[in-house]
Amino acid sequence: MNKYLKRPETGAFAAFLLTYIFFAMATPGTGFVSVNGTAGWLNLAAELGIVAVPVGLLMISGEFDLSIGSTVGAASMILALGTNQFGGPTWPMIAMALMAGGLIGLCNGLAVVKTKLPSFIVTLATNFIVIGATMGVSRLIANVTSSSIFASESAKMVFAFRWGQANISILWWLLVAFIGYRVLSRTAFGNWIYATGGNEDSARAAGVPVERVKVTLFVATGVAAALVGILQGIQWNSGNSTYGMGYVFQAPIVVVIGGVLLTGGYGSVAGIVFGTALFGVISSGIFYTGWNTDWIQLFLGLLLALAVLANNYVRRLALTSK
């Protein structure tokens, strides 16, 4: 029992289960627990989940990325302007959007590693720079800040397919989570992520390339954010510079609810996945109760506060007993 209490994902799993049961009981006969209802909350969780996994790994390594929001928007606008204003082919434009995301991540990573400034502030700056640049350039080129996307059928299959109510983004989420889990828990690189966040000097002394670890994670985060921009753009047939702004804080929130320590060095992908699923259940569950959706914020705030306290407790527990 004690063994499970100490795992970083236990709290998030319990919270997810309790919340799910709560909404299932509070909304009898509304279809919250139906296939469609389940697809509903999974859809809400999926795209956030795709960024939350790399953001979580980044936080375990001791860094933040608040620029994800603008990267999502920028990627969708690259796809929109590319396929619409320039009439370009879909797949190369998708590749370009992903590369742009990677490039933003690379800039973040190098800036953080070279200046040694807190990534919190560096990526907050990037967030404004990127959204400003996206809007400015879009206006210059097409005099718009949002624009239609003309995606090929094959791209629609891969990024916007639906089974009933379920979006293909759920599969993308699973894929990203699986890769994240493999990397963090099973590879040497994952060991380096924990070490970098746990004690950077010790990690460096042991020969861990901590700068490379961080830059790689920033790049992965940028690419994941661009992937979400592409998913949303193709689903909604349009790009918009402001897509993804909600993720700026939602992603770190679900990561912390998922049991990742704010100070870095501890956490798991399973926890991040449960934290994200919890977000999906609340956002969609509130809707089924018929209450005002404003309550979502309150719920999340309380959960975040609870999670931070619980994480500290779990950390202490992990360090006191065998």
Partner: protein, 259 residues
């Protein structure tokens, strides 16, 4: 026997601060060299020169008879010089096995399913610590943060030995430990010595130094004030030297007056 590592007339200046002046010393394989000295005497600076962190301002560093210039701590480590700092070295929220192999993880399987061989890492880590007399840690999955200070020292030293260190530099490994824990670390140093490792042992504790030391080197204000072999000086004399040449009994009288 030729020395493992030797400093010849080494100076290290930081601007106008002369941290080390004309320091010459030798580290022999299978011997423990105790480096003694008061706060600010230059001990940390000296081990930074030995471990490749600093290059000397003047003078030569000889490694197994050849003059050497380390490119950095990593270079020194690859040539078999391992440094264990007092607090740094292990990561509390990671397991024993993962800490032990950090930066040199054993890998199994084929891409894309290559993964850390956690079982192997845990087994070797626990075995290696047992070899050095630490039997209390049986589970390689245990978090390092749950181990005592002495056990962490054993982990760090065992790790350095496993990865083929020829020379160990230990910066005050016993200073934060209780009597039992300190004796465990001292015992471990003896085991390492038997395996032919040369050890540089920095300490403020004359008793610890006298119990394991073969050679002694006392630094005062960056200079070698005395260097001698075991049994050449009494404990009193060593204590006096460590206090910077002042008489220890006089210092003790001072203390009494404060009370």
């Amino acid at each position: 026997m030729s020395p493992l590592m030797e400093l010849r007339n080494v100076d290290k200046f930081f601007g106008s601060t002369k941290a080390l002046k004309h320091v010459s010393m030798q580290v022999h394989p299978g011997k423990i060299l105790c480096l003694l000295g008061d706060n600010g005497a230059g001990k940390s600076t000296l081990i930074k020169v030995l471990s490749g962190y600093h290059n000397p301002t003047n003078g030569a560093v000889m490694l197994e008879g050849d003059e050497t210039k380390f490119a950095g701590p990593r270079d020194a480590r690859q040539r078999g010089i391992a440094t264990v700092h007092q607090n740094v070295g292990s990561i509390p929220l990671m397991s024993v096995g993962r800490n032990f192999f950090l930066g040199a993880e054993p890998i199994k399987g084929k891409w894309p399913f290559r993964s850390i061989d956690t079982k192997k890492a845990n087994t070797i880590a626990v075995e290696q610590m047992r070899k050095f007399g630490l039997t209390r840690v049986e589970n390689g999955d245990q978090l390092v943060g749950t181990m005592s200070g002495g056990e962490r020292q054993v982990l760090a030293i065992g790790r350095a030995m496993y990865f083929g260190a020829k020379m160990l530099i230990l910066d005050e490994p016993t200073s934060a430990l209780g009597v039992k824990e300190a004796s465990m670390v001292l015992k471990m140093m003896r085991v390492a010595r038997q395996n032919g490792v040369g050890i540089v042992f920095i300490t403020h504790n004359a008793r610890h130094a006298m119990s394991v030391g073969d050679d002694f080197c006392v630094l005062i204000q960056g200079e070698v004030a005395a260097s001698f072999k075991r049994d050449e000086k009494t404990r009193e004399e060593v204590l006096n030297l460590m206090a910077g040449g002042e008489d220890m009994t006089a210092l003790e009288e001072d203390l009494e007056q404060i009370d």
